[in-house]
Symmetry: C2
Subunit: 334 residues, 2 copies
Amino acid sequence: MKPSLIRMHQLYLYVVLLTLALSSIAAKADPLPSWNETETKTAIINFVKSVTNSEADTFVPQEDRIAVFDNDGTLWAEKPVYFQFMFAIDRLQAMADEDPSVLSSDVLKAAARNDMETVVQSGKAGLLEIVAATHSNLSVDAFQAEAGDWLASATHPDTGMVYSDMIFQPMLELLSYLRDEGFTTYIVSGGGVHFIRAFSESAYNVPSNQVIGSTGKSHYEVMDGKPTVMKDPGIAFIDDKEGKPVAIDTHIGKRPILAGGNSDGDFQMLEWTTAGEGPRLGLIVHHTDSEREWAYDRESHIGTLDRGLDEAEQRGWVVIDMAADWEQVWPQSP
Amino acid sequence: MKPSLIRMHQLYLYVVLLTLALSSIAAKADPLPSWNETETKTAIINFVKSVTNSEADTFVPQEDRIAVFDNDGTLWAEKPVYFQFMFAIDRLQAMADEDPSVLSSDVLKAAARNDMETVVQSGKAGLLEIVAATHSNLSVDAFQAEAGDWLASATHPDTGMVYSDMIFQPMLELLSYLRDEGFTTYIVSGGGVHFIRAFSESAYNVPSNQVIGSTGKSHYEVMDGKPTVMKDPGIAFIDDKEGKPVAIDTHIGKRPILAGGNSDGDFQMLEWTTAGEGPRLGLIVHHTDSEREWAYDRESHIGTLDRGLDEAEQRGWVVIDMAADWEQVWPQSP
């Protein structure tokens, strides 16, 4: 070899070695800096170490490292009501401004004048009517553009924060840590799949194909020569409670090894996940922080957590105490 | 550095360089060796080059390189009838041997005695009845184990080949080539998702979460203390024709840039895929090979290809002429 070639190769070698050294330093940094040094953090890190240690009999190959997370109340806030419902109300009011005839029932009229008492009294049927009126008769693309605009501009009535900022920093770190350790992270939410996809990539780094949610009816049509998937009124699938394991089976086709939720709507997902063989982790975000977020559980209409609290200990699920376990709640100060 | 350390580092450097050199040679080898050197092969390779060339304005980033393929007639054979239906008949007969009372209707009795004329005359309702009887009241895990056993042992009435060997070697190469070029390859089939997943990973290297298919009803239940997803009678979703774009939207959430099919059941999937902006590729496997496989199109009840043949040219879809374009059909000689 010519001397110049030898020098080039040496340089190349040093770059390779430096890269290896830096990546080994990075791996040792705290993967969960917004988590306090509590038993909860230790339990999570120990679980991840146990399934990624190829020497241990708890090792899980990368293709089976599937982690599923609820969205509302688990990855972002859900008070005073699910943010998707706030979007539906805002959209209904905007639609009514353009064409008052969309307010074709008492519950729609009540929603448009912000009479939430009447809306709540109308029960599930009323809520579904509001969702149907605001989530149909437009293309998926148009709907996701609307939802994306709203998420980036509308502000929360209590915090004044933009909704897409009301995600939990510790959970962002957990998602990222899991992915760094070879997990595939899915969202499995009772919320609408198209609504969540409007922000899941930018907020959580979760691509659209890893978002599972409730679905409305839809159909394919060539409109003015343009092939389009249109959203229709009516519910196709409710991804909640017993529906979550069914949706995971349909969509992923494998039982996860880690499930995170915050309400009894996630109970069956955690039950199914943690009943599998080998190491399993069930996580419940317990909203205990009335200062920085909200404090609620058994008595709350949104995000009711009752059976999960009763049975977490005997099932070995880790309950995240938001006030005690999280050093920081939001990515940015409100 | 000690001389021994320098030698070690030099050795390491040579290994790195050798690896780079070998991978560069491998990249230049023919990615589609079972395809004859025809315009079809050129069109496929040119498309892949156009979307992977980061200098070109046709470049598509890796996360958007989504390719979808029909299964029956596209990735494996489908004659004389869909193999899943052959499985259903075999399973029905095995079930009837154990308990004759499962044959609760005329069409089930006809199917059990191989009277296919009566079965065919019963139309779609009869076929669905046979599928419902053989694809329900067991867990997903148990069903997939049964299907996997059948696929690996039952043999085709004409070829004598095991069903899971009746996959198309050129399509295996295409799937593998696309993945090597950063594509994610999905199966989008009218067949049942649980049936396909019983062999998709081993046959096609397509993991369960990249299999989209028709779905039966199912439910989650804790049986004898064991959380289980159970298959129920009844259809939840038919992933065919207009259903394919809808299923792709629900499951992937993005429009593919490449779609491959073989029948008019794939028409809408190709139409939607190729109507998007930027480079798009639609592929139709035309069964023209009565020697090595089968020859059929417009008049066939299974895999009818009529509108697709009429419109392929004007839509710029590439029609694969099996007899002319494929140097080899099966992975192994029958």
